[in-house]
Symmetry: C3
Subunit: 136 residues, 3 copies
């Protein structure tokens, strides 16, 4: 089996990556979504701006940004096998799970695996999420 070409997945709504990486990459049957944060859809001439003011808005925007990459790559949440959640504050765990469960309530297939850890992120960012999907 050939794995075919490596293709970049670039949603129109996304701000340009701050370095030479792709928001998503597809090769073979894998679609890897880069770490997404809660930046609002890109506006020409405006610096990347996170949704706000709280964890809820940033988390939903972050999930929307992951979803935009999945969709641009021909995948849906149903194809995702792993979601990595990076929070900045252990006090956010319960609220994150509440938001997460609401967001994924419509999921038909089994939910993805998940790892949640607490890290540092650039000022103003409360959460980062990446995802790995298997297509086909």
């Amino acid at each position: 089996m050939s794995n075919g070409q490596k293709t970049a997945v670039v949603p129109a709504t996304h701000t340009a990556p701050p370095a030479k990486f792709s928001h998503g990459v597809r090769k073979g049957n894998l679609l890897q979504v880069a770490g997404q944060v809660g930046f609002l859809p890109a506006v020409e001439g405006r610096a990347p701006t996170p949704a706000g003011p709280g964890l809820r808005e940033q988390t939903l925007q972050t999930l929307a940004n992951v979803q935009a990459v999945l969709e641009a790559g021909g995948a849906t949440w149903e194809d995702v096998i792993m979601i990595r959640v990076y929070l900045t504050d252990t006090a956010h765990f319960a609220e994150l799970n509440e938001i997460y469960n609401e967001f994924f309530a419509p999921l038909v297939d089994v939910p993805a695996a998940r790892t949640t850890v607490y890290v540092g992120l650039p000022a103003g960012l409360l959460i980062e999420i990446d995802a790995l999907a298997v297509l086909g």
Copy 2:
């Protein structure tokens, strides 16, 4: 090649995930194990309780929890290509490696790759581990 169905891997011994995610997911030839911590086997009516009192007990329980997911998914440690270890204290590195080496001494095949970083975890947890296996 079809990648077949996405299936949840749910060991009977595990406490329910605190949110809508699966302890393990298999799709195609990949088995992804979610971040496991050192919770003792679930007991009806008891809150999830980590093994203790020290790093050794928690690490061995965490590895046992990863292994339970692997086995429930039809895999063994021999199939694992990547292990991510999240510690909370750089002072634990030497002891972690000692425990890790003892645990994996029986491994016949080549050991998995590993990334170890130091993060925050909820109170009482000293270590979290996830794993990616390739089957077949």
Copy 3:
């Protein structure tokens, strides 16, 4: 399709892993590179020593170490779909991106996805990087 054997990828230049893990593992069409740090090529009888004195030197050595594993496994950066960058200081983000962009300027194919988070690392280490490649 058989995924074939799991093989360890061991660059001659690398210091021995501090525990029972492989610097790289290949199984099926996946090549997983373990978390690499900026250790200089191994010298018999010398403890692992990071390149220095600054972020630039350590980052370039870390990337060289990832590349050595890729090459020993029959892959190149062009095959990489995901790069995980672990920094220790959010103040390093801009400089990291500058170094990263210079390093990947020769890339012909689309760049890999990337997740960057800020964690703790053992004393003296400023950065750790791992990578996942899809071959074929």
